[in-house]
């Protein structure tokens, strides 16, 4: 089902490959996750692959139900089973296969190597413990630090994420902080054990724009400081443009396009990306006409045959209904899952 850990004996013929991939922080390969529900099996993630290097920012972009959060949860190993099952694929952290690790060992990676920031800080923090206690918990549980020392560390971390008067506020409770400050506390918790990777799942969606800018700036500064890998999960094409190095676009649980950030915005190679860019109002454009994508994203228990986007795609041809398009390699780091990626790229594609 899953690959065995590569940290043990490596067969000679795999040496070349593993050396090449060993620089990677995280290597996700052909990940499949399904939810077995009463209404049938929902294929939340089907064949997702990507990698991450130190200091790099990867954005996973998608609408609700595209499988972007489930991918993050599968990497963290925090999916609820049942109903969710990882049925195929591998997630390697610095060469170590995580999916086959027993839970006890997996816990050593969670928080310590890979940490996560969630969207809604108010519901992610425990309302009956002070924030200092919750930040310090990381040190007490993972490192066995004493309560006093853990609180001191908590103050240091609160300073690091720029919470004013950290020493006075360390004993306050989550409800006494504003939304932006709560998100900073979440970031402090994620940072506490100096992880190599931070996964941020819609970290600024619930925040106002001015606060969003502050939090994104903070994340970028912290990343530059410690050379972490950052996976940013979002639906916001604007935020992505400001921070990401490369982007993976997901639709209905599948990858539809992967590209470096400049290429993706300049010349999308998948009709979904292209339409999405044309559908968002931009603050710096005047007299802009909004193109719409007809219809709605599919139900994951009934993903359309062939290309999942074909019922909404203006360029769909008969082949799109019959065949699932593979993820074509366009160039070194660009991929598109469209039968007509060439035509989409050079703009020669015609409406149906």
């Amino acid at each position: 089902m899953t690959h065995t850990g590569t940290n043990q004996a490596i067969p000679a013929d795999d040496m070349q490959l593993s050396e090449d991939r060993s620089a990677l922080l995280l290597d996700v390969d052909d990940l499949h996750v399904e939810f077995r529900t009463r209404d049938g099996v929902a294929k939340a993630v089907s064949g997702v692959s990507f990698d991450l290097r130190p200091g790099e920012t990867l954005a996973i972009l998608g609408e609700s139900g595209s499988g972007k959060s489930v991918t993050a949860q599968a990497i963290m190993g925090i999916l609820d089973t049942p109903p969710a099952y990882v049925t195929q694929g591998s997630v390697r952290f610095r060469g170590t296969e995580l999916l086959s690790l027993p839970e006890k060992e997996r816990r050593r990676y969670r928080g310590e190597k890979i940490a996560m920031i969630f969207q809604d800080a108010l519901s992610s923090l425990n309302p009956v413990y002070s924030v200092g206690f919750q930040i310090g918990e990381m040190f007490r549980v993972h490192r066995g630090t004493s309560r006093d020392d853990a609180k001191k560390k908590a103050v240091e971390l609160m300073d690091r994420v720029h919470i004013p008067a950290a020493r006075q506020r360390v004993n306050d409770y989550p409800h006494q902080f504003s939304g932006g400050m709560r998100q900073r506390i979440m970031i402090a918790i994620a940072l506490s054990l100096d992880p190599d990777i931070i996964i941020a799942d819609e970290p600024t969606t619930a925040l106002d724009v001015t606060v969003q800018a502050q939090v994104m700036q903070l994340l970028a500064d912290l990343q530059a400081e410690s050379h972490m890998g950052l996976i940013l999960i979002t639906h916001d094409l604007g935020v992505v443009a400001d921070v990401a190095d490369k982007i993976s676009v997901m639709y209905a649980g599948r990858l539809v396009e992967q590209a470096p950030v400049m290429d993706l915005y300049a010349s999308p190679a998948h009709p979904y990306t292209e339409r999405l860019l044309a559908a968002i109002p931009r603050v710096d454009l005047k007299g802009q006409e909004l193109y719409t994508i007809k219809g709605i994203p599919p139900n994951l228990t009934r993903i359309p045959a062939g290309c999942a986007f074909h019922p909404r795609c203006p360029y769909a041809q008969p082949i799109c209904v019959e065949q699932v398009p593979p993820l074509h390699d366009i160039s070194g780091d660009r991929r598109s899952a469209c039968h007509f990626w060439k035509e989409t790229l050079d703009g020669s594609i015609q409406n149906r």
């Binding site: 724009v209 606060v211 443009a241 931009r282 709605i296």
Partner: protein
């Protein structure tokens, strides 16, 4: 965009105030203060135009919407609909006026009763305002409304859960249209929708305005959406309007520091602008509306603040050689967005 706009105001708001009392004690309640949610707001809405109301959470924009609908009673101020103060009306006269102002709410999941069919939801306004449509014709009217907002009229007997988010928002819009209002207040109508669906609903709002000559008050925190749909914009901060002007004046020649900071923080989906945008980082958070700063309410976060800002409250007036009102002692144009014309 403003094709049908005229110079006759349909709605004029003067000095609107809403203070929510803060009380202490259970049996003998004493008032110990007030949350100044809305504190002296003036608005002007012309026929056929869209007025945007923007600001961060807690700035009082949704409270203003509730006051305009009179879902809350204003503490002070006038709401003039065609010159008639609806804050003073009651009984029959109020009911007759109220028909003309409808609202579309943010969350299409919680604003539709899950036990009612779409037909009942959209037709409910007719049960309250019985004289608008005779009983026999109501079903047909509802079907027409569904068609207008782009839903299948045959789905009249379905329940809200059978629809997607975007379709539900269309149901909410159909309900708002039922009484043929002159004004629709849209309180964050697209912020709960997916990006690919959001554009459909925005375009629907624009189409309906062109066809029916509606006036919108469009409340949103997404400044890109507001720029796209609005003719004029009022920017709110802590219960007050700090700057007001037409779309071009606000977006291309903002004069209030808060407007400038707000605009500069809007992410632009264009990676080539990375690091080249004029970004103003505001320090700290919005102060509590229960205890707002003296003088200018923005001064605690403003990089221009001087002593006068704490002593004297700046009025919302046109200053010096500027072309639109701004509530700042040191109002000056700072272009934070480089605008491209694509039309």
């Amino acid at each position: 965009m403003a094709a049908s706009r005229t110079d006759e105001p349909v709605l004029e708001v003067r000095g609107l105030v809403k203070h929510f009392p803060l009380t202490k004690g259970i049996v003998f309640k004493r008032q110990i203060g007030a949350v100044q949610a809305v504190d002296g707001v003036d608005l002007l809405l012309y026929k056929g135009e869209t007025l945007g109301l923007v600001g961060e959470s807690g700035c009082g924009k949704s409270t203003t919407a509730r006051l305009l609908m009179r879902l809350d009673e204003p503490t002070a101020g006038q709401i003039l609909f065609h010159g008639e103060d609806i804050a003073q009306l009651s009984g029959k006269a109020f009911k007759a006026v109220r028909r003309n102002i409808q609202i579309v709410l943010q969350d299409p999941y919680s604003s539709l009763n899950p036990r009612m069919t779409v037909g009942d939801i959209v037709g409910e306004p007719f049960q309250i305002h019985k004289d608008v449509a005779p009983k026999g014709s109501r079903r047909k009217l509802v079907q027409e409304l569904l068609e207008v907002v782009g839903l299948n009229p045959e789905h009249i007997n379905r329940y809200p859960h059978q629809f997607s988010g975007g379709q539900r928002q269309r149901i909410g819009i159909a309900r708002g249209l039922a009484l043929r209002p002159e004004i629709i207040i849209c309180d964050e109508p697209v912020s709960a929708l997916d990006v690919s669906v959001q554009a459909q609903v925005i375009n629907l709002f624009e189409k309906l305005q062109d066809e029916l000559g509606l006036s919108y008050i469009f409340i949103a925190h997404d400044l890109s959406v507001v720029r796209h749909i609005c003719d004029r914009v009022s920017v709110m901060y802590l219960g007050k309007v700090v700057e007001t002007g037409d779309e071009e004046q606000i977006y291309e020649r903002p004069t209030h520091p808060y407007t400038q900071a707000l605009l500069s923080a809007v992410p632009v989906p264009d990676p080539t602008l990375r690091g080249r945008r004029d970004q103003i980082m505001l320090e700290g958070d919005v102060p509590s509306p229960a205890n707002p700063p003296s003088g200018c309410r923005f001064r605690t976060r403003c990089w221009k603040a001087q002593d006068i800002c704490a002593e004297q409250e700046p009025e919302l007036v046109v200053r010096d050689d500027l072309d639109h009102p701004s509530a700042c002692h040191f109002a000056a144009i700072r272009k934070v967005i480089v605008t491209h014309d694509v039309s």
